[in-house]
Amino acid sequence: MATEALLLDKLINQTYRPGFSSMVESDTVARGLDEDVIRLISAKKDEPEFMLAWRLQAYRHWLGMVEPDWSTVRHGPIDYQNISYYSAPKSRADGPRSLADVDPELLRTYEKLGVPLHERELLAGVTRVAVDAVFDSVSVATTFKATLAEQGIIFCSFSEAVREHPDLVRQYLGSVVPYTDNYFASLNSAVFSDGSFCYIPPGVRCPMELSTYFRINAMNTGQFERTLIIAERGAYVSYLEGCTAPMRDENQLHAAVVELIALEDAQIKYATVQNWYPGDKDGKGGIYNFVTKRGDCRGARAKISWTQVETGSAITWKYPSVILQGDDSVGEFRSVALTNNYQQADTGTKMIHLGRNTHSTIISKGISAGHGHNAYRGLVRVAKSADAARNYTQCDSLLLGDRCGAHTFPYIEVKNPTAQVEHEASTSRIGEEQLFYCRSRGIDAEEAVTMIVNGFCKDVFKELPMEFAVEAQKLLSVSLEGAIG
């Protein structure tokens, strides 16, 4: 009998929207990885000696490591010699000076993605968003740089930062996520291609949301971006990262590293809307997303908050974390992770309390549909030194249908008796009752599911900047969309 379960099935049977591929001529290095490839990447990017040395150290360390297998995600073997570690659109050979120099096909790609690249359009808008667009491995165009530069803010591609601001890069790179940190972070350190760099000088409040749009375009290329954000004393910045990738049959590897450093009284808000290609409904293709994100509250009263909306990728493996070193510093993690079809997510956070009176909040919302598996994995560690540390954790799981799964792995380590740690968890099924209640009021099933799921995620969405909250809601409804007759 056609019950709500069947209806849900139809609803969650989505198709991936940004699944187009651009015909842009690119300069791609042959597949495989050895020291020569790393030297080549470094040379192509015209890097200073210290950068190459760091990459090689990371590579040598990585050779002695094994892939981690402690998470719930399952995948076939990844052949690291069958990946091309560098791909750049060809027309960039001498670098675009302005948008007019950018390959028109590339601009159309951004248009399809809805990245507002034209400065004029942006200026006409109510909210100003500076975009550093990363297309495969190099940053193509950075808008608003001049406006930001007036306040001493540096916002540029990582490659440019290595060339133009080597001292800052040298001081902070690897200081939160060392090249020895984990398998994927080490690989990234060796071969990272590009990413974003952001520096906010003391006392400056960044006047606009900074945003990066990542996109994996070329076939068989891994994308290894590196992002580094530094907020000096009393500085403030809000950063949004959006990600999509075209449909491919093969799996593509994505191993990024993001490091945030907040000094005394500084605040960094980092939001991610991740919509990498999740694979088809049978689990074929899709992005393997192995990402290391970590923030360091290095001064007193510093605050770092991570907000993530993860709807894409075949596999999501990421734990945006905060090291609470400064006294009275604050760490926050808010997450919505949706897994549909055969998607797998093992995601959560680590809150490491070192300073006194440090506070952390964790709100995790996992939504599983189809055959999707969703795990929350979180660590709250209160060190001996962290007097009066407090943590509040809330993990909620929502199941749509009866073939999906939700798992919760909370790890709590407390070495200081004055700590207060709270953990709440719930698992619920999207109620046949809830659905029927809405429908019996005249609301169709599709709208009802969207309404219920958005309600479930409300605590996270309200932390996103307004326009991105709207985008996130749309993304969820697209991900839950189906053919309802």
């Binding site: 009998m1 056609a2 019950t3 709500e4 109620g431 046949e432 009752e433 809830q434 029927f436 209640y437 809405c438 429908r439 019996s440 009021r441 005249g442 609301i443 169709d444 099933a445 709208e447 309404m451 219920i452 958005n454 309600g455 479930f456 995620c457 409300k458 605590d459």
Partner: protein, 268 residues
């Protein structure tokens, strides 16, 4: 308005189909108020839910005509848009969704269906303020998540609020009186009474007579074991209150025995 003929309904408990309704016949005309009474487990709520379009039940026989259409051809949301409203016995909680948001989405879905313009926030608030005043509801309830943290009485008033705003043609109220104190009962009864009109029909599903002290039904039906055992005027409810459901069951058993005796030619 509503014509139920020989309705048989089962619930699928995984292995077998368990019958709940066993041949219901009921005719409800526009302008009428019908009370469906009966002991627990007699199938009252099942009847209400099947009429509203709940899909977890299986209709094994019979038909239901609503305004001349086969009701079973319409999914739940279509029935609502065509004017059927069910006030739930246990209103459902929807975390994170503001009460007012659900109500506005519902009203606008129904207005779109009727080819009317959607109400904007201002007009909607004007409409709703009048109704919450009449129900003695706190405006703060509008902004809380649907039914979450509501007291039993607040949930029932909220159902009545939805009914008043959506203005259904056929309102089915499932045990709306249960769990209400006497003041709340009066407010809720006034809300229901206000809905009474020649174009509208109301079915009150209730275990007790007390709601009927405030709303005089045109017809009273007693459901036992999935069948309508007795139908009558308002006085039947009073009789039930006095003698209890056991009396109906005994009467039915008695009648059945007489039928059986006749079949075997014993006769009185």
């Amino acid at each position: 308005m509503l014509e139920i003929t020989n309705l048989n309904v089962c619930i699928d408990d995984g292995t077998t189909l368990r019958p709940i309704l066993r041949g219901i016949d009921l005719l409800v005309r526009a302008g009428e108020v019908h009370a469906v009474m009966g002991p627990n487990g007699s199938g009252k709520s099942t009847l209400a839910q099947v009429l509203a379009g709940r899909e977890s039940y299986t209709v094994t026989a019979g038909s239901v005509q609503y305004l001349g259409r086969n009701l079973f051809e319409l999914p739940a949301e279509e029935r609502a848009r065509e004017g059927i409203f069910l006030a739930f016995q246990y209103p459902v909680e929807i975390p994170g969704v503001a009460n007012i948001y659900l109500l506005k989405a519902a009203l606008n879905a129904q207005r779109r269906h009727r080819g009317e313009a959607e109400l904007d926030a201002m007009d909607f608030m004007a409409l709703i303020r009048g109704q919450i005043g009449r129900l003695g509801m706190d405006e703060a309830l509008l902004y809380r998540p649907v039914n979450q943290g509501f007291s039993g009485g607040e949930k029932k008033r909220n159902e009545i609020l939805q009914m008043l705003v959506l203005e259904p043609r056929l309102a089915i109220l499932d045990e709306t009186d249960s769990g209400l104190d006497i003041d709340a009962l009066k407010v809720v009864a006034d809300g229901i009474e206000a809905m009474r009109s020649p174009e509208r029909a109301i079915i009150l599903v209730t275990h007790y007579q007390r709601l009927l002290d405030y709303i005089a039904p045109d017809r009273v039906h007693v459901l036992t074991e999935g069948r309508i055992a007795l139908s009558g005027g308002p006085q039947l409810a009073l009789e039930l209150e006095r003698r209890g459901y056991g009396w109906v069951e005994a009467e039915v058993a008695d009648a059945a025995r007489r039928v059986a005796d006749n079949q075997y030619g014993i006769g009185p």
